[in-house]
Amino acid sequence: MVTPRRRLAVLAGKATGALSRATRRGGGTTFPGDVARAIDPQVLRRLIGDLRGGAILITGTNGKTTTARLVAGLLQGMGARVVTNRAGSNLIYGATAAAVAGAGLDGRLRADWGVFEIDEATLPAAVEETRPVAVVVGNLFRDQLDRYGELELLARTIQGALERLPEGGRAVLNADDPRVGEIGLGLPRPPLWYGVEDRSVSLSELPHAADARTCPHCGARLEFSAVYVGHDGVYACPNRDFARPAPEVVATSVTLDGLDRICIEVGGVRVEAPLGGLYNVYNVLAAFSVGTVLGLNQHFMAESLKKAVAAFGRQERFERRGRRFTIMLAKNPTGFNEILRESERADGRHFLIGLNDRIADGRDVSWIWDVDFELLAGRAEVVVPSGVRAHDMALRLKYAEVTAATEPEPDLGLALDRLTEATPEGGDAYLLCTYTAMLDLRALLVQRGWLRPYWAT
């Protein structure tokens, strides 16, 4: 039954969203949620009750947006109606706004599934209100300590949320991440584990930015027989107190084709996706695992994933003035190291690095010293440090002896012009940005007519 209060909440939320878009204040991806919840705090819970399938939540430090997009794509491929908070508004207000936007004027949510990317710290509230059928935890890396606090506390928060999953709700966890492994092994009901098994894409050692180096039980240094992304790999405690859980959904025969394509084998099925990088192997595998929980056909999923499209600001590409540009979002050391490695695989040589320190980026920029910018030394032909903290970025590059770095240029527009000039025609240029720098840069590109607005992607 639709209560008058719920209907009013939905209508007010929808009006707010329409107003926000009309006045070009953004996509109206969060504020309608605030308005609707102010009128009916239970509005999300009630709307979720209309879903025929149910809600699926995606959390973790890196890969939330892409994984959510892939899962939504799988469901849409079956003809299902899916509501998502795809614009990266991943607090409870963002999820509410998405549900409100998907509701009709009668206050009912007209959809089969809700797929929501959820901020790690918001997971308890989201589980409580959406009673999900599946929750993905992709990884846990150090990220914005000034905002989230230490990893330890966040892991406990996530574990507490997963312990309260409703009957029939399944945790879908990355077995390769030791922190996620620790969380999952402590759950009352067994999760679905997924992981990568292909030594040919393993790094030779843990990167400096790795966090989960020690056994949660005895404190011994974990032994890694493979390292894939950050501290994600195949690990075991030398005292046998803790080890990577055996994954049920496994990616083997991994092929990375620059930024253009990844190819894996899952349970004898060849899965291909037009995305780049090992971190996207994990995103694809997570989506595949959710599909497994929902009982989707493997061959159907493989077909559907071939048509995957990167989310906004994540490996988003466009061509202008005879150059090909790729926007890559990097929010933390592990994510940044991965995109540096990807650009290396693609033989990238021309870069803009946009570093901001707003709340959503983390106000402390110390983390750039944990990123292996040394990977650019001797390879890059131009690197333009930009964004609010362009000066800090320039300094980081100096100490990494990246001699191709230019003077800092805080203005993203001028920095983009400088990069365009320095990139030969027919060449590739990479725009590596923190979250708000990516938003600023995208807004600028939309203004110049180079890209579509994000709520239209």
């Binding site: 000034d146 180096r213 020690t214 320190d357 944990d370 000066h391 300094l395 980081r396």
Partner: protein, 264 residues
């Protein structure tokens, strides 16, 4: 101790700089590597043979020839893991090295561990190394934000400021055996009460500043190298470092009338 600093020239080779990094795997929260990298590169750029020695759990290798120790902060779990090893295997060689004129920079958790003790909110005390006359108590809330420090003039630094970012809940109080590194112009510093930030005693430096601290404060990095090597260093081209330093000063100055308004 003063006599040892002035008189002992046997430590190390004048053409080299050895940096001992205490627990690089476990005590490396948020950008501590930047401090080590700054010391390393600034030595190299002056033609010194620079080397970083990792001092992980159990390791004491080369502690007797380290010129500058670096001791960073860690998350609670990691800090608990290094504690016994610090007391059992590092305390004695570290104290000896400092007596022989080595320098140490300790940040945040490392700073607290150099002091007499850390007292938890429940009143439990964990003894530190007692190398620095400071004590730390758990505070009611975290101090997080940009910091500008007017540095102790005795240190003779130009520019006379330090910039960084603090993120700590411990409140550190200095005894008479340590001087503050400086006074906070912006931010909270040691304990939110007395306006001080960090502590210095001879060649022992403690601070709450991340950022990382040394890249944007090259004058402090050079002071440490000069103290460790007992020499005057030729100047480097620090335009980029000082521009980044000045940028923080200017932004914080512009924010001042707004009181404690946060970045938007």
């Amino acid at each position: 101790m003063a006599a040892a600093i002035l008189g002992d020239v046997s430590r190390g080779d004048p053409e080299s700089l050895t940096i001992g990094w205490l627990y690089p795997e476990l005590m490396n929260i948020y950008g501590d590597r930047g401090n080590v990298l700054t010391l390393y590169q600034r030595a190299r750029w002056r033609g010194l043979q620079a080397e970083v020695v990792d001092l992980d759990k159990g390791a004491t290798r080369a502690m007797d020839r380290v010129d500058i120790f670096f001791f960073g902060g860690g998350q609670d779990r990691e800090q608990a893991l290094v504690y016994d090893d610090l007391i059992e295997t590092k305390a004695v060689p570290l104290a000896r090295a400092l007596e022989e004129g080595a320098v140490i920079l300790a940040i945040c958790g490392g700073y607290q561990l150099l002091g007499h003790y850390y007292q938890t909110a429940e009143g439990q005390r964990f003894p530190g190394l007692g190398l620095l006359d400071v004590r730390t108590e758990a505070g009611p809330r975290r101090c997080i934000g940009d910091v500008v420090v007017d540095v102790d003039p005795e240190l003779g630094l130009t520019p006379p400021t330090l910039v960084g970012f603090e993120n700590h809940s411990g409140r550190t109080f200095l005894g008479s055996g340590a001087r503050p590194l400086g006074r906070v112009r912006r931010g909270r510093g040691n304990n939110e009460e007395d306006g001080t930030e960090g502590a210095v005693a001879n060649n022992i430096f403690g601070s709450y500043l991340h950022g990382s601290l040394l890249p944007k404060n090259p004058h402090l990095a050079d002071l440490m190298i000069e103290r460790a090597k007992r020499c005057r260093l030729p100047r480097l081209d620090d335009r980029l470092e000082l521009a980044a330093h000045r940028w923080i000063l200017e932004r914080e100055a512009a924010r001042r009338p707004l009181g404690d308004a946060r970045a938007r």
